[in-house]
Amino acid sequence: MTDFSQWDKGIGDAIAADNSITLSPRHWEVLNYIQTEYKNEVPLSIRKIGKSGVVDIKEFYALFPNAPLKTATKIAGIPKPVSCI
């Protein structure tokens, strides 16, 4: 996704399915948190998400296996964390 304004839950579900994930209400709680941080221009990291009070790191990996930050941001329709180059 290159344009967050084009995102909707259906797209989120489709991207999740591509990654072999079926989204539960618990998944959506975490995705909503990630989207809120993005709108507030707060950069995300695994540790930050773990300290958010929304989900701990173990559960984050369980919900979005392998590369959870990359996967969750993709499903949420927001750019993955990037650096200057």
């Binding site: 221009e41 707060v42 950069p43 990291s45 695994i46 993955k80 964390p81 990037v82 180059i85």
Partner: protein
Amino acid sequence: MMAQHLIKGLDKKNWSISIVDERKEHYYQPGFLFLPFDQYKPEDIVKPISQFIPKGVDFVNVGIEKILPDEHQVVLANGNTLIYDLLIIATGSEIAPEEIEGMKGSEWGKSVFTFYTFEGAKALRDKLKNWEGGKLVVHITEMPIKCPVAPLEFAFLADSFFKDKGMRDKVDITYVTPLSGAFTKPKATATLEYLLKEKNIHIEPDFAIESVDNDAKTIIDYGGKTVPFDLLVTVPTNKGSDVIERSGMGDELNFIPTDKATLQSKKYPDVFIIGDATNVPTSKAGSVVHFEAEILTENILRYIKGQKMEEEFDGHANCFIETGGGKALLIDFNYDHEPVTGTFPIAGIGPLRLLKESRFNHFGKLAFKWVYWNMLLKARPIPFVSAKMNIAGKDYN
């Protein structure tokens, strides 16, 4: 820098300026990258702070206990209190290796190093002098870090260092990052990926470190992935100063919520923040401070006159990146524009080329040390380089 700017702009009859800093020395931090490879000597990159305090500015050489922003006061470590009409926070960012279990364990200083401090860079230099080879792992703990490209530069310089010593075949270099690749922007990825192949640097992406196993000499991520090392060069978690935590003014990494375009505190109108201490979404880099300083000065003068702040800071950063073998590249970008190819600073002419390796750029990186001590710290403008990024001369499609 801000004191230099403001001492010229403020009426001396009505304003006094104090700089509070517990340190006696100022480091040229970009030089830390070169110390481990003996390309700079320690004395090249440290000078007494007193040399840079402008005439007429008071230097309070004491630590800070905390800031009381509701009372407009700064409590010093010696118990004294300073009352301010306007506060500029420039407390920077520091490494916090204790945030990761085992990072400051038994191997710290033996096979686990960082070049993000003066002492760390010197210790790594001593290690590299006699290191006989093995698995070199260059690692980033989590973002944001200051100078985000320095770990990659380290990997590039290490490749050249070991080639020059005739031992590159004895060293395996792996770059481990919490990001999805060594390069994360499309143009930079397309233009620079060849460097990784050419220099035989392996990438381990999406690695969120949980701990360092000092006995097994392995780093372990939260998902259970492991990377073994013989020599680990890590960039630990970067946090803002503890002063900010004691003052209750920062986020969970002690960075201060700052308006990204005016540089005013989001909570306290008489507080402004510059440099690494902010939470603005651009790189934590020296050039950013230079561009912020020009714009912040104007906003402070507006604030004093009771005028509206102008949203002028565009996140401009301009950075040289060492690629080894006596070459470097240059990138110029801001909040809204990724680094692209082009000419800099004069559109169409240059003489520097953007996002392209050259020896000329390498000399530029080395010359920057002189520019830092003699121009940037003295708040002198750099010819042809504006605070706001120039779109002209750049290849945006």
